[in-house]
């Protein structure tokens, strides 16, 4: 059989030299050049791990060492291992405890009396591979957790049946003023104004029936301070630790809405002013222009001085007329912009 050519770096913490030789021999059967290091005590192992420039690929640990044994040994070695898979080596007498050690975090346990080269090799491959998968899953979980926790927008998960908050992120805590602990003892009705509870219940019933995904809605929420805010929420159904739940992303649009409202009001006022300019202000101006026209025809032989004064009045009136027309044109452009928006 072809031997595995990977240079596995293996730490064997084993005080019994005979057992160590056995393992060394078995390893050699399937692995071409394993990099073995052996320590006899926990203290020595601690030093070896600390001094080792690179991480070990796998650690074999005898569960009864001269300076430490049992559960405490496992816990301490696992901590030192920092992610490197740890395989327990044990005799029949410790079988029950060996099984318990799995719960503490060891990757596998091997009965020394039943050890074979194949079992040993399989354990190495399996433990290393499984550790990789576990790390991948943990990284991916952390990524999602970070996306949730570090989101600048408030987010939470609530249980569909009870409306209780199951998880909230930091932005929610900062924005609403409730601590995480307070949030987790509350439900959705606690952040909605009382007159909207009926509407909330109804939309929850709808949500139970329909498959909702990225549904956007506008609600009003109440902060701990009592301040009412307008929010746009995006919701997604999900299974949260076995519970039917809904993930909610909150965008506070209170300021945005206020701003839009102000702009709309200003725009309305502006259009009114423009209307006054082109309709109301122009009326007396038209009258003035009409009077000047008439005066010119009624008095054909005016004195030169009167003539030039009349010219000034006329010029002034025409100048005002131009200004009003200009304003009127501009306001019509804005009205057209409005029409296009609607």
């Amino acid at each position: 059989m072809r031997k595995d050519e990977k240079p596995y770096s293996i730490l064997i913490i084993e005080d019994n030299l005979g057992d160590y030789f056995l393992i060394e021999e078995y390893l050699a059967e399937n692995i071409l050049a394993p990099q073995l290091q052996r320590t006899e005590t926990f203290q020595a192992a601690k030093k070896t791990i600390a001094d080792s420039p690179a991480k070990f690929d796998i650690i074999f640990l005898d569960l009864s060492l001269p300076d430490l044994s049992g559960e405490q040994l496992i816990v301490e070695v696992l901590e030192l291992a920092g992610g490197t898979p740890v395989v327990a080596l044990t005799g029949f007498s410790d079988l029950e405890f060996s099984m318990k050690s799995m719960a503490l975090g060891v990757s596998d346990y091997l009965l020394k009396d039943e050890l074979t080269p194949t079992i040993l090799y399989k354990t190495i491959i399996y433990s290393i591979q499984r550790k990789k998968f576990t790390e991948q899953i943990q990284r991916s979980e952390k990524r999602y957790s970070d996306l949730f926790q570090l989101s600048p927008l408030p987010m939470w998960v609530f249980e569909l049946d009870t409306l209780r908050f199951l998880s909230v992120n930091r932005a929610a805590v900062n924005h609403y003023g409730y601590s995480e602990k307070e949030f987790l003892s509350m439900d959705l009705t606690d952040i909605r104004p009382s007159e909207e509870i009926g509407e909330l219940k109804k939309s929850i019933e709808d949500a139970k029936k329909a498959h909702l995904s990225n549904l956007k809605k506008i609600f009003r929420h109440r902060k701990k301070s009592g301040e009412l805010i307008t929010v746009e929420t995006t919701v997604n159904r999900l299974n949260f630790n076995g519970k039917e739940a809904v993930l909610v992303l909150v965008n506070d649009v209170t300021e945005r809405n206020k701003y839009i409202e102000t702009v709309e009001k200003q725009n309305q006022t502006f259009l009114e002013i423009a209307w006054i300019q082109s309709h109301v202000v122009r009326a007396p101006l038209a009258r003035l222009l009409g009077l000047v026209n008439l005066l010119e025809s009624e008095m054909p032989d005016k004195e030169p001085e009167i003539n030039s004064l009349m010219g000034f009045i006329k010029d002034s009136a025409f100048e005002l007329d131009e200004i009003i027309r200009d304003i009127s044109k501009k306001s019509e452009i804005i009205e057209h912009l409005d029409d296009n928006d609607n």
Binding site: H279, A286, R287, L289, G290, L291, S297, I324
Partner: protein, 126 residues
């Protein structure tokens, strides 16, 4: 040839100016001036003869109604409709567009009405 011109404008001063200008151009024309749409409509219903032969020069934005309402009332009340010319002091383009499209409207002028406009009006009416 138009024998009677009905002027409707709630601006009394403009009404006087307009009358004087028209009188300068047509000394013998009968001019009837009104400061509201209702007065003008009443006059027309009381004088069926005027309704058939007169022409109307009316301001679009009267206090009691606008010229469009005036035309509606006139048309529903009469089969033979007089020629109608609109005038406005507003500089908004909306009214002129509407006036161009309205079948009952013969002409449209922006105030002030000049002597040139008065001549144009009579060209339209005669």
């Amino acid at each position: 040839m138009t024998t009677e011109l009905i002027l409707v404008d709630d601006d009394k001063i403009l009404l006087i100016v307009l009358e004087k200008m028209i009188r300068t151009v047509r000394k013998d024309l009968q001019i009837s001036s009104f400061i509201s749409g209702k007065q003008a409509l009443d006059y027309l219903s009381e004088n069926p003869g005027s309704k058939e032969s007169a022409s109307i020069l009316i301001d679009i934005n009267l206090r009691d109604m606008n010229a469009w309402e005036f035309i509606d009332k006139l048309e529903t009340a009469k089969e033979a409709c007089p020629k109608i010319i609109l005038m406005t002091s507003s500089v908004s383009s909306v009214n002129s567009e509407r006036a161009k499209k309205h079948p009952a409207v013969t002409g449209f002028f922006e105030k002030p009405i000049t002597f040139e406009n008065v001549h144009q009006i009579f060209q339209m009416l005669d």
